[in-house]
Amino acid sequence: MATNLPVSAQSQGGIGTAPVPHTEHDDHLHDHEHHDQHWLWKYVFSQDHKMIARQFLITGMFWAVIGGLLSSLFRLQLGWPEATLDWLQPLLGKWIAGGKLDPEFYLALVTMHGTIMVFFVLTAGLSGTFSNFLIPLQVGARDMASGFMNMLSYWFFFLSSVIMFSSLFLETGPAAAGWTIYPPLSALPQAISGSGMGMTMWLVSMVFFIVSQLLGGVNYVTTVINMRTRGMSMSKLPLTIWAFFLTAILGILSFPVLFSAALLLVFDRSFGTSFFLSDIYIAGQALHNQGGSPVLFQHLFWFLGHPEVYIVIMPAMGMVSEILATNARKPIFGYRAMIGSLIGISLLSFVVWAHHMFVTGMNPFLGSVFMFLTLIIAVPSGVKVFNWLATLWRGNIRFTSAMLFAIGFVSLFISGGLTGIILGNATLDIQMHNTYFVVAHFHLVMGSSAFFGLFAGVYHWFPKMFGRMMDEKLGYIHFWLTFIGVYLVFMPMHYVGIAGFPRRYYSWTGFDAFSQFADLNKFISAAAIIAFFAQFIFIFNFFYSIFRGRRATQNPWNSTTLEWTTPIIPGHGNWPGEIPAVYRWPYDYSKPGAETDFIPQNVPYSQTASSNLPYERELDD
């Protein structure tokens, strides 16, 4: 068992750990180590943050395959609207009628694709995995503040996943009102069959999902604030931790608002209230609901919805910062500016929600206020992009798979971010809204970027997670297929979007204006499906490497942060001896005068006399 590794294993990584005085954590450790746990408690109902992280990751990967499969299905419909899809009958059953995809099921596919990708993959799968895995390891803690709550967080997510997954198999179909579930469409089962049982299960599932997010978020924040090791001040935290910390705060503040909206929607659907419904006729029948406001729902939804996109992207930003610095062998450019821009993005994310609602008839003055605030977000985003590029500039770059995905992230973030400036303008948005331009924008800047951050993170921390390396060759193939695939999918979408091609349309062949885009649609669909299948290279690589990968060394990337000072496979409690103390910031790469090109955070200044800067000599004791 790796937990029994001798303490000396700890100091294999080049420069050893400094002798530090005894800490009180010592005796705590022995409670954990010397009893064999039943496999059920070790692998299933585990309270160890590393196991919970792996559970989140594998559940997230499962969801990503489902979400990707759904998108391949509706891309088939969009790319080849005239084709007969009888061969899908074994998979889709009654949703294929007469060789055609059922139009309502098409909407359900789009809805579930959005829901799954945004919430289950990129929120739970991304920040759930890496916040859990990296926060205790990088701040120097034995585990999360509350291992039990952490376990509950995963199992609420699991429950929510089970409910959402089973809603795919309902006879009336899963929810079909778009991932934003705007009422009245989502509130009235008479309107679309997906708003019946499917919507109910969607709401129940999301309630559990929110509970999971809150339990997790409270834990992350508490751990970062209270459980940092000796010397780990907030200004010595790796940028990953800053990103996870702010992400968790965003989640704690914004998810309850979604809960409010969902609760009111439940009341409207099942208890006859009229929060969001008014003056509705269905099939000539007047409904009793009076006085509700559907726009109110949009306000509540987007008050979560906008911070949500930063909940998705900020963990990726943090990990990319870390991976770029490590593999460029250079300190991150502008460490404090990086933290400042993360804080700036977090604050601004709460005051821009109505830019999703420019065309709801809001007061143009209000629209211009939100436009102004939205465009300000370009400033911290620009700071980040500049700093990433400046970190790469004249770096001694090691092109590992993780590094490729991190650079790919920066590329996608720039391409997608630029169109955000266009869409953030209220006047331009009137032309662009609900076209494929919007789809292209958010898939690049949030969807694909966050996925690239996720891949980068998996390739980079895989050795720490499983004690083995992933295959680099397969990683390269995976990267290039995905990178080229993503651009081939979303670049043409901008073009058809500018021409006014509307999103969420099942069939566009009836409109003369759009039939000229048949070729482009076919092209996009083909690229999307190829890119989807390219992901199986990653999945194969992942599972093969867990069991057969090359064995990892203790610090394979020569990185400075604390997680690489643990044994190759850390036991429960992370460090077999005492927790290392921290003396320096996490980005001492290629420091002039240093013996190695990296100095881990736990090396005191007294051991690095040759590279100390003048003010650091005073810290030398």
């Binding site: 309850p256 608002v257 609760l263 009111l264 006859g272 209230t273 009229s274 006085g291 509540l300």
Partner: protein, 163 residues
């Protein structure tokens, strides 16, 4: 979450088609009850600091009792609302009334969790597990209870001023 509800309330009210009605007087009575329960909770907290176990038990019991009275009072207020033809749902309902039910209902749900929490602390206190060196549970319960009381006062004043 309550911030979301109350701001939703304001946004919605400004859009018109908003039926005005008077809040039942019993809400004022309930507000006083919950303020008293906060006081008794604080008294229990201070007593536990001084290891006065009997007073802690009494204070917690008082808090529990007042909490239950508050809940019953809220139920009574609902029946007064219904008597005044302000309904939660159905053909005669207006969002102005539905909002009041939602705010009171969600608050009541939190209050029930608070009652459970206080009851757990009371059980520990009866086992002599709450004293000046074991303040964590009663400390957290006190914070939570004050939060619930303060929240109710916020909601009450909000409804009073904005209807």
């Amino acid at each position: 979450m309550f911030a979301a509800f109350t701001s939703g309330y304001i946004v919605r009210r400004d859009e018109g088609n908003w039926r005005e009605f008077d809040l039942p007087m019993s809400l004022l009575f309930n507000s006083i009850v919950i303020a008293l329960s906060s006081a008794s909770m604080q008294w229990a907290y201070y007593s536990s600091k001084q290891d006065e176990v009997k007073r802690v038990n009494l204070g917690l019991l008082l808090t529990l009792g007042l909490g239950v009275v508050f809940l019953l009072g809220q139920l009574h207020a609902w029946s007064e609302l219904v008597a005044g033809h302000t309904f939660f749902g159905g053909a005669d309902a207006n969002p102005s009334g539905s909002f009041v039910y939602v705010l009171m209902g969600v608050h009541a749900f939190h209050l029930i969790t608070g009652l459970i929490f206080v009851a757990v602390v009371l059980k520990r206190s009866l086992n002599y597990q709450v004293h000046s060196r074991a303040m964590l549970s009663i400390g957290n319960a006190t914070i939570y209870w004050h939060f619930l009381g303060g929240l109710w006062w916020y909601l009450y004043l909000f409804l009073l001023l904005n209807h």
